[in-house]
């Protein structure tokens, strides 16, 4: 008998629910009817193909996209994209976007009073190498206020979008910074019930990738959904 689910279930508590009332925007946007369990067909196991040559080496250095250098604390964010068996995910698109050092996004709907930085756009992309490694150069994003509740502030974070081998490994997540006092108050970070799963979203400060007199290194590994073992492999 063919098993129609080719990728693993999510371990309990390791993913947020769609509805998380503390995150107010989820209330009118989360589905209310039960989701329907889908067999994994060729549609879902095949992968998005886009213009790979759109991604160039320059896209991974967010500090070098303008004539001058952006303000802020220079950082190097690197790590590996892995599957749940610990294998690197090769040649897979990683996209990031973030606020500038003052906590302001280059987006027309960001009305925070902090200044824009003419030398920082806040977006980057890179393909993982054959072992799933990636590396970005950027500046540490600032915390910023948002309207979720009284005196709400988002912890410093970088948004990540990942593809992996097909639709079923698609993931959008956020990377946080170690020691950020805002984490415990953030409903988005806390939308995941499992504490270890939450901590995996916090990057580690890393001496090895820190460059003397230049930039602090942070290491952030991302684990994408793994394949189910097929009966033939048992």
């Amino acid at each position: 008998m063919h098993d129609p689910r080719r990728y693993r279930k999510f371990a309990a508590g390791t993913q947020p629910e769609y509805l998380h009332p503390a995150y107010v925007s989820s209330v009118k946007r989360a589905p209310t009817k039960p989701l329907i369990l889908l067999p994994h067909t060729k549609t879902e196991t095949s992968g998005p193909v886009f213009g790979h040559s759109l991604v160039t080496a320059a896209d991974s250095d967010l500090t070098a996209q303008h004539s001058g250098e952006p303000l802020g604390e220079r950082i190097i964010v690197s790590g590996r994209v892995l599957d749940e068996d610990g294998r690197g995910v090769p040649e897979s698109l990683v996209e990031i976007w973030q606020a500038n050092a003052a906590g302001r996004y280059l987006h027309k709907m960001d009305h925070h009073g902090a200044p824009l930085d003419p030398n920082f756009s806040g977006c980057g992309r890179v393909m993982t190498d054959t072992e799933g490694r990636y590396r970005f150069v950027s500046i540490k994003p600032g915390a910023y206020p948002w309207g979720n509740h009284h005196n709400a502030w988002r912890p410093q974070h970088i948004h990540f979008s990942l593809f992996g081998a097909g639709l079923l490994t698609r993931l959008v997540t956020q990377m946080y910074f170690p020691g950020d006092p805002l984490l415990e108050f953030d409903p988005i970070y806390n939308s995941t019930a499992d504490e270890r799963a939450r901590r995996r979203l916090v990057a580690k400060f890393d001496w090895e990738t820190t460059e003397p007199s230049h930039a602090l290194g942070y290491r952030f590994d991302i684990v994408l959904r793994g394949r189910e073992q097929t009966p033939m492999e048992k």
């Binding site: 989360a30 589905p31 879902e44 995996r200």
Partner: protein, 184 residues
Amino acid sequence: MSASQTVGPFFSIGLEYLNRNDLVVPGISGAVITIRGQILDGDRQPVPDAQLEIWQADAEGNYSENKCEATSHSPAKFTGFARIFTDTAGKFEFRTIKPGSVRGAGGETQAPHIAVFVFMRGLLKLLYTRIYFPGEVANDSDAVLSLVPPDRKRTLIAGGRETKDFFEWNVMLQGSDETVFFEW
């Protein structure tokens, strides 16, 4: 597995470089179609800050498998992948090739469909759904559609209008006509 987090309100700055409302490339075979719709939230308010990410087969039912070179914003061949953003009225529109039938999980034939991920602030995980086409005989035997309660199937099947090459398909996030979303 790493936990999913919302894309937040400003994701377009990072993702819009792959925004493309027209997947049709010169010389592609198949019927050119346009799909138009709107995304509405639980208060029936339009969602102006959403993105659809679509993935589909070509007219022969084959998915792109190889890397594809690109010039500027346009891939050099039909890839079946695009990002489409909603406008200030929560509306979207894209032009593509009507997909052919592709194989299902057990080797059976699936009715023509387009896979859709929905991205927006407020979603802690991506929503996954499919667009099917009206009047397809294969819809009656499609293994995925057959899992959907009969009274909700219509949320997945696009409506046809004046002509056969124009379809309307809306995303209702909540309510009695809530779109069917899949646990993927």
